[in-house]
């Protein structure tokens, strides 16, 4: 066996950077959180550049346990962009809250590494290790502010429920191994492809695996942890949670269902349809009563996962393309919105109430405009990017004759428009009790500007994303 490390170069770079930053932080007496954050961002950018260099045709490494194809490359690019953007926004906030430590960027790098391993997993063993690497870093990050009771509770809750979900995933994987005698996705696709009527044990295993992964994407009915963890964790951590891990887990779910279990599509389709419907419904109705903007974003992210799963339920390459476009647009909308949330301060103190945004249009028109654009986009109002994200997943659902999903999806997106537009109303038509401070932090302003521009201009320049997502989706189907 020849060890071909070329497909792993981006991962190796991220791992080496994490280890180097850890050493830097441990051996230098002075506070290195600023240097570590900047270097972590640069390492992610470097990994992205390397990824572009090595990506291409389908390559595998380590006897087929690790795979780099167009799908993995696309997801990894999104993950790296999301992580780099959220880590760059974190420093100022953590410094002001007096919790800046060099371990933060190191853990974000490790989490990113885990996510990259997840989307490149081509075996249940590498899937599990990638997933655990990501989850373990996230548990620690959730409890990062260890002197805050809420953050500690968030971390503990996330850890206990996450461990349960990992257990379910492992049980499912062991049932599948018990039937097929292999954990490799390629061999599983062969074994399950020829078996005709699927074995009951395999279906049960598949359901357990899906339950475990549904927890990681916080799809209903495995969503209970999301609002508490999002609210309790420090805001930069919440921003990170809301984007990169969701993209990674959704990509992983897509690869598992389309790849080894592609032949069992009629078995998993009903499950995906159910969790998608339930997520859209809970995401739109439960968010209405929220007053804390981080809780609101938690329910909003549950809803968005439901919409993305609509594409997966279609099970076609058009559907996978829709999922990828959806998560790419979701990335920019969410990162931008969290930029605004991170910039919400009154007299130097962080605030998180929706009512605190009142009168923002008068005190800080540009920030209010960015937030308004992002909220309109999340509500799916054309011609903003969010509309196109929904358009492609619903198209795929309609083509696959999943009318219920498409119709319920449209109805729930109307319901969700209520609370997105309420934020716009609060910003533009309510009077400020106390004005928010002007954000002075360049990275946050840059992230806000970039995400607003992407959301605004996507309609005029959709080409690169559409072509990239299409190639990525096709690479997933070409292999099987």
């Amino acid at each position: 066996m020849i060890l071909d490390l070329v497909p792993l170069m981006p991962e190796l770079l991220v791992a080496a950077a994490a280890l180097a930053l850890l050493m830097l932080g441990v051996f230098r007496k002075a506070d290195t959180s600023r240097e570590a954050t900047v270097l972590a961002g640069l390492a992610m950018g470097g990994a992205l550049a390397v990824l572009v260099g090595v990506e291409g045709a389908r390559q595998t490494a380590f006897g087929g346990m690790f795979i780099l194809d167009g799908f993995a490359g696309f997801s990894k690019a999104l993950i790296l962009v999301a992580s780099a953007m959220t880590v760059s926004m974190s420093l100022d906030y953590l410094k002001r809250e007096n919790i800046a430590r060099f371990e933060y960027p190191v853990l974000v790098l490790f989490a990113t590494l885990g996510m990259m391993m997840m989307v490149s997993a081509n075996d249940f063993l590498s899937l599990y290790l990638g997933l655990e690497m990501q989850s373990l870093s996230l548990y620690v990050l959730a409890a990062y502010h260890r002197d805050s009771a809420r953050a500690t509770e968030a971390g503990l809750k996330y850890f206990v429920l996450g461990a349960l979900a990992s257990g379910m995933l492992l049980y499912g994987a062991s049932l599948i191994y018990g039937f097929a005698g292999t954990t490799s996705f390629d061999s599983l696709a062969k074994v399950l492809g020829g078996s005709g009527h699927p074995n009951l044990g395999v279906v049960a295993g598949l359901v357990f695996v899906m339950a475990g992964l549904a927890f990681k994407v916080s799809a209903v009915p495995f969503h209970m942890w999301t609002p508490d963890v999002y609210e309790g964790a420090p805001t930069p951590v919440t921003a990170f949670f809301a984007v990169a891990p969701k993209i990674a887990a959704l990509s992983l779910l897509t690869r598992v269902l389309i790849g080894p279990f592609g032949e069992l599509a009629h078995q998993w389709q009903q499950v995906v349809v159910f969790i998608s419907l339930a997520s859209m419904a809970v995401g739109s109705f439960a968010a209405i009563g929220q007053t804390n903007i981080k809780r609101l974003m938690a329910y909003s992210s549950i809803g968005h996962v439901g919409f993305a799963l609509v594409g997966l339920a279609a099970g076609s390459d058009l559907g996978v393309q829709g999922v990828l476009i959806y998560v790419a647009i979701y990335l920019f909308m969410n990162v931008g919105a969290f930029g605004v949330i991170l910039a919400m301060r009154q007299k130097g103190r962080a605030v998180e109430g929706i009512a605190d945004l009142a009168g923002l249009a008068k005190t800080n028109p540009s920030m209010a405009f960015v937030m308004a654009v992002l909220m309109f986009s999340m509500a799916g109002i054309p011609p903003l990017a969010g509309f196109w994200g929904k358009f492609y997943v619903f198209m795929a659902a309609v083509k696959a004759d999943l009318w219920t999903l498409a119709i319920v999806g449209m109805l729930t997106s109307v319901v969700s428009a209520f609370y997105y537009l309420r934020i716009v109303k609060v910003m533009y038509f309510d009077d400020a009790v106390e004005a928010l401070d002007h954000p002075t932090n360049p990275p946050i302003r840059l992230v806000m500007a970039v995400s607003a521009l992407v959301v605004l201009l996507f309609t005029f320049l959709p080409g690169p994303l559409l072509i990239g997502a299409k190639a990525a989706a096709q690479s997933l189907f070409a292999a099987g």
Binding site: L107, L129, G178
Partner: protein, 203 residues
């Protein structure tokens, strides 16, 4: 016949000590029964011919994990009566869920079938058991085919370590540590003061 007898002995003791782990009144007894359970499981591994796993189970689980448990249980003040509060209240629901799950699993395993070529796939990674000890077989697999997973597990443990230190290490003020260099640097001139004490006056 003889190995069947030994199997039933190990299996029955493992189940019995497992039950005792959750039903013992004293948490220290629970941990001791857990150790017994580990030993019996190791015996079962030996019967299967997996001597390496048997040894690892004893060395790692009994030698490290269970002893750590024992320390934790002895150091923490666990109020057993408080822990048991609500046990009866949740028992009916828990029992119903457990029984339903058990029936479902029995139905599933009752209709269990293997994929047609499962034998070949299971044996593919390792050489035949007669040619090689299973310690060597595991070692070969771990450092070649599974090298990626081995390295990834290493990183995973590093993350766990970083996380533990980040969440628990606190720098305390006013802790006096022994610094030998500073002790050796001390001279009589810097640390002893000689005063004349006048009679009846004090200092």
């Amino acid at each position: 016949m003889f190995s069947a007898l030994i199997f039933y002995m190990f299996a029955a003791l493992a189940v019995a000590s497992g039950v005792m782990v959750i039903s013992a009144r004293n948490p220290v007894h629970s941990v001791l029964f857990l150790i017994l359970c580990f030993f019996n499981a190791a015996g079962l591994f030996l019967l299967l011919g997996a001597e390496f796993l048997a040894m690892v189970l004893v060395v790692v689980y009994v030698g490290a994990v269970a002893v750590l448990f024992l320390f934790v249980v002895m150091m923490l003040d666990i109020n057993v009566v408080e822990l048991r509060e609500g046990f009866l209240q949740y028992l009916p629901t828990g029992a119903v869920v457990g029984i339903v799950l058990l029936v479902e699993l029995m139905v599933m395993f009752g209709g269990w079938a293997f994929a047609p070529d499962v034998e070949a796939l299971i044996q593919a990674p390792a050489p035949a058991a007669e040619q090689i000890t299973n310690t060597e077989a595991l070692g070969r697999l771990l450092y070649t085919t599974y090298a990626y997973l081995f390295q990834a597990s290493g990183l995973l443990l590093l993350v766990a370590m970083v996380g533990t230190i980040l969440l628990t290490l606190r720098r305390r003020e006013g802790v006096r540590k022994q610094v030998i260099a500073r002790q050796l640097e001390r001279t009589a001139a810097g640390s002893v003061e000689i005063r004349k004490v006048p009679t009846g006056g004090g200092i």
